[in-house]
Amino acid sequence: MLHPISMTAQGNAIVTDVTVSTLPSAPLWAFEIWNNPDAVATRFAAAAGFALPEMGTSGGSDALRLIRYEPTVWLVEGDASALPSILDNDGALTAIGGGVTRVLMSGRGWRRLLMEGGVFDAESPAFAVGSSAATIIDHVNIRLLVLSEDACLAYVPLSYAQGILHFWQEAAKALD
């Protein structure tokens, strides 16, 4: 289901464009390691072809992407069928996709929009492509993933999705 919100607002400094769209729902998992993290990381890298991402970063591609948002927990998107065997007895994979709405922000104004009601420096150059963050925006816990300079993916709790979309829609009207 798509809820595109396109807006262009002009202020006294810059012109900001951002489009906010709700992506179709997708399976998501919490990938948690409780034991032998190095061994799991080795098994994972061998199977997936890329290393388990560090804190605040993501790895992989649309086929399988992992985002580390807690010291021992990664959010998994894509084909997770191989992960239980990689974890073996050292961790667990738990489905969480039903409770998350993915919101795509595209256009160069997404950083500015994320500053509205936020506490996180989305405008920092260090928040570069591939970076991730868990933050609060307008009292809602949201996870962010920088897809490109013109796109950011936000993982929003299902119950708050409509509210935060409305918030972004209203905020974008007065973006400068």
């Binding site: 409780w34 738990t94 969480i96 039903g98 009601g117 506490v119 920092s124 307008d138 708050y160």
Partner: protein
């Protein structure tokens, strides 16, 4: 009243003041426009209703307060010096009746000796009722503008920002600092409360002019820096967090994009304060009359706005700066009648003006609207001059508010007779005029104290300061509160130093020894809506929507807020009231079947070989012996032994459990589990994942629930407190045989993305079996009748497992959180409140009522929840009662004096329905 620099042509802007239409030029403040239109009387003072004009040209203005805007957009107490005129601006004067010129309240001025410092403390003795009587008249007689009655139609935004360098104040020092930082590649934010950059450059063009300011601004922006005008740094907090209030529209103006103001939360690597200084007035009788202005303000009106506030001008000063005003006025064609310089001898070059040294203003005369003459004393000899403007300069007070809010200290600058920033506790530095104010000549006023105002907004005079001293008030903090000095909306920006000097003089000490009051945020008044941000319109939070929200909404239920969630309270049929609908739904559950949405319950998936160890730490009941496919009721304690939540725990696989707990305590439970997992027992091999939103939940309850579920799944339903996986509508679900209604019941959990078809199939089956949907109200009836507990009601944080008769379920092996706290003797002493049932002997039991043995006696407990017997009528309730377990059969009174309701009740066991649990068995 216009000067030569005011353009003769240009687009006029129309505005009204007290209903009369005037014109202004683009860029005018309301104060400038009023002066340009020859208006001297702008407001009435707070206490004595004295006529007041425009004194300053900035946010420190104490006199010219007006209400701007109309309806819900009206903003009272707006400084006329801090609002830029826009087409259609409507301003009203305040605190006057029937009008500004003829204000009957001015009669209070005749009684000024009565209304001196400490008036309230000396007058309003006796009972509080007398004060209630007086208050009505006091509030009518004194005060500021009225708050609008209508809701504010505008929105408010809150935005975060991060930077390497935040520069507050865009005068020459601030601009230079921001430019230097930007050139060095820093992320820079420069804020300025005016609508243009330059500050003193606008008033006093120097080597650096407005062209330099513009070129600097371009460079800052080109390097990625941000410049925010009409923005005030209103608060400085810990860790170099500075809050900025930005006006996106002028007061009362319709904002272009709906957002009137923005609150910025700026986290800065370094803060540079270039906040300048505020000119001080001088104390002498009638120094508050329209036509008495601060010298730099006069210069600002002349040079920036092209408005000359007077033609015959006396200037009173103790420093060199006021001579610049004399030159500006002369350029504008005004006549400088006299300069009264407090310094004993001429300082510096010859200016060509009639200057008197060792000279002080002594009084003014005039009408309500304007000044007519100034008297002074020169070398001890009185003199008088006809004049329509008196420009005064009593020195300069550095704006140190933000420095002090940041925890910085102040030092005394004797030459400037002012406090300047000293050491900083945070990464903040003050530059420019705020760090190095101009020197002044120090001379105590040698004038009568009466009607010599120091705090213009709160009508505090030197006589009030003297009186407070005479009555024993020595501390500056006491002086402030006794006289209300510095407590008005301007927070004493123009007054505090004058009063402090008087206090020091009385004490016979230097000013720094007299002490200083605390600088607190905000620097200037902030609209309340700005603090609420977008939440101003919806009571503070988003509505949390169920995964099945749209499905419910299509049935037009009565909605019930539950925390941030919105859940159906009942599904009324045509013509049904809430009570009727809820009772119908509850009876359907008792006699047939009903279904409801239980998605909001807290749910945690706990996996791993040490899952049991974690659960037996969190839960006060035993979990270890739970077989795969079985579940049990459980509850959780705080470390002090009190119950804080309850729920169920289910073993859904060898090393995988589902823990449910209350909706209202979901976030608290998530935090608690995280604390246990990551802090108390990081060594456990366990994963705890919050799946509250991942799993939508549907409960089916009633004597026909089992057959309905069998139809839905095609399989034999699990027995009570058992769980199985199944498919409904082709979707995989988890079925838990659990009941919160007293009937055989099942909770069906499904990935929220697939909940709609499952709900639809369940609804078809339930309705086809003669059942219906039920909401929270019916659920409440059912659980009360059965005696089930609810967090926030019976479990209110003050009850132990013993108090709730749950002690037999405690894990005898101990080891759970709260086990140690539970052993405290006080938790098992007599007299504790205990869970009881209550049935009405007569009347209907008011929820929340007190339980007393007789009218007038002290309460011994209270009703936590009340309802009606679902099938056979009669009022019943659950409650907490002192020694309740021993009082079954006793009759009490449940009374709610605030609602005027009471009922006679009998204490019984808290199970009114199927206490043996027969209906759970197949």
């Amino acid at each position: 009243m216009t000067g030569p620099s005011r353009p003769n042509s240009g687009q006029d802007i129309s505005f009204t003041f007290d209903g009369t239409r005037y014109s202004a030029r683009a860029g005018d403040t309301l104060a400038a426009a009023l002066l340009a239109n020859g208006i001297g009387l702008v407001g009435r003072s707070f206490k004595y209703h004295r006529p007041r004009g425009i004194m300053t040209a900035g946010v420190e203005e104490p006199n010219a307060l007006v209400t701007v805007g109309e309806g819900g957009r009206a903003e009272p107490n707006t400084r006329a010096t801090d609002v830029f005129v826009y087409d259609g601006l409507a301003a009203q004067s305040q605190n006057r009746w029937p009008n500004l010129s003829l204000d009957f309240g001015a009669i209070l001025g005749l009684a000024a000796p009565v209304f001196s410092a400490g008036f309230y403390y000396k007058t309003f003795f006796g009972s509080a009722k007398r004060w209630m009587f007086y208050e009505h008249f006091i509030r009518k007689a004194a005060g500021l503008g009225n708050a609008p009655r209508d809701a504010d139609p505008d929105r408010f935004s809150q935005r975060a920002a991060f930077c390497d360098v935040l520069v507050v104040g865009a005068g020459p020092a601030g601009i230079a600092a921001a430019r230097e930082a930007a050139d060095a590649g820093k992320r820079v934010i420069l804020v300025e409360q005016d609508d243009i950059l330059g500050a003193s450059l606008i008033r006093d063009p120097q080597e650096l002019d407005s062209a330099w300011a513009k070129e600097s601004a371009d460079r800052i922006r080109a390097s990625g820096g941000h410049i925010l005008t009409r923005t005030t740094a209103s608060g400085y907090w810990e860790h170099d967090l500075v809050t900025l209030t930005q006006r996106l529209a002028e007061p009362g103006q319709v904002p272009a994009n709906g957002v009137a103001q923005r609150l910025w939360h700026v986290r800065a690597g370094q803060v540079i304060l270039a906040t300048g200084s505020i000119e001080r007035p001088m104390a002498f009788p009638h120094n508050d009359r329209p036509g008495v202005m601060l010298s730099q303000a006069v210069r600002t009106y002349v040079r920036r706005f092209g408005v000359c506030p007077g033609q015959r001008v006396v200037i009173a000063t103790n420093n060199d700066d006021a001579y610049l005003t004399a030159h500006a006025l002369k350029e504008a064609g005004a006549q400088i009648v006299a300069i009264l310089d407090a310094r004993p001898a001429p300082a510096g070059q010859e200016h060509g003006f009639t200057t008197f040294n060792n000279a002080h203003p002594l009084a003014t005369k005039g009408s309500r609207h304007c000044l007519k003459s100034v008297s002074g004393i020169v070398d001890g000899i009185p003199k008088s001059w006809d004049a329509d403007l008196l420009a005064v300069s009593g020195g300069f007070t550095p704006v140190v508010h933000l420095h002090c809010q940041a925890g910085g200290t102040l030092e005394w600058n004797d030459a400037a007779q002012a406090f300047v920033p000293g050491q900083s506790r945070q990464n903040v530095k003050t530059i420019g005029g705020a760090a190095s104010p101009a020197p002044v000549f120090s001379a105590a006023p040698v004038v009568p104290a009466k009607k010599s105002f120091v705090d213009f907004q709160n009508d505090v005079t030197l006589a009030d300061v003297d009186l407070a001293w005479a009555e024993g008030y020595r501390s500056v903090e006491h002086l402030k509160r006794y006289t209300t000095l510095g407590m008005a909306t301007d927070q004493g920006k123009t007054s505090n130093m004058g009063a402090l000097a008087r206090l020091a003089e009385k004490q016979g000490v230097a000013i720094p020894e007299a002490g200083l009051t605390t600088f607190r945020p905000p620097y200037t008044p902030v609209t309340m809506g700005l603090f609420a941000g977008t939440a101003a319109k919806d009571a503070g939070a988003h509505k949390r929507r169920l995964a099945l929200f749209d499905v419910h909404a299509a049935k037009n239920p009565i909605w019930q807020p539950l925390g941030y969630w919105f859940r159906p309270r009942a599904y009324p049929m045509a013509g049904e009231s809430l009570a009727e609908a809820a009772m119908r739904e509850a009876r359907s559950v008792r006699t047939a079947v009903g279904m409801t949405d239980v998605s909001t319950l807290a749910k945690f998936e706990i996996s791993g070989p040490d899952a049991v160890a974690l659960l037996e730490t969190v839960c006060a009941t035993s979990v270890g012996k739970l077989a795969v496919g079985r579940g049990r009721y459980t509850f959780m304690l705080r470390e002090d032994g009190f119950v804080f939540d309850d729920g169920t725990v289910w073993r859904i696989d060898e090393n995988r459990y589902l823990l449910t707990s209350s909706t209202g305590g979901a976030d608290r439970m998530a935090t608690h589990l995280s604390y246990v997992r990551n802090y108390l027992h990081p060594e456990l091999r366990v994963s705890v994942v919050n799946v509250q939103e991942h799993l939508a939940g549907i409960a089916i309850a009633g004597p026909k629930a089992k057959s309905v579920l069998a139809t839905l799944t095609g399989e034999e339903p699990p027995r009570h407190m058992s769980t199985v996986g199944a498919k409904i509508a082709g979707v995989a679900v988890l079925v838990l045989a659990a009941s919160y209604s007293g009937e055989r019941a099942f909770e069906i959990y499904v990935d929220a993305r697939n909940a709609e078809p499952v709900w639809a199939e369940c609804e078809t089956a339930v309705v086809g079996t003669g059942g219906c949907l039920y909401g929270l109200e019916a659920m409440e009836f059912l659980r009360i009748e059965k005696g089930h507990l609810v967090v926030g009601g019976e479990i209110d944080g003050r009850m132990t497992p013993l108090d709730l008769a749950l002690d037999k379920m405690l894990n005898t092996g101990g080891g759970f959180i709260g086990a140690a706290g539970l052993t405290r003797p006080a938790l098992s002493e007599a007299g504790r409140r205990q869970l009881v049932g209550l049935e009405a002997v007569e009347g209907s039991i008011p929820e929340g009522s007190m339980l007393v043995t007789a009218d007038g006696k002290s309460p011994e407990g209270h009703v936590t929840a009340s309802a009606f017997r679902i099938m056979d009528g009669g009022s019943l309730a659950l409650g907490q009662l002192a020694d309740g377990f021993l009082r079954h059969g006793e009759e009490l009174i449940a009374t709610s004096p605030t609602r005027g309701q009471k009922a006679r009740v009998r204490v019984v066991a808290p199970h009114f329905y199927d206490s043996a649990g027969e209906r759970y068995r197949d």
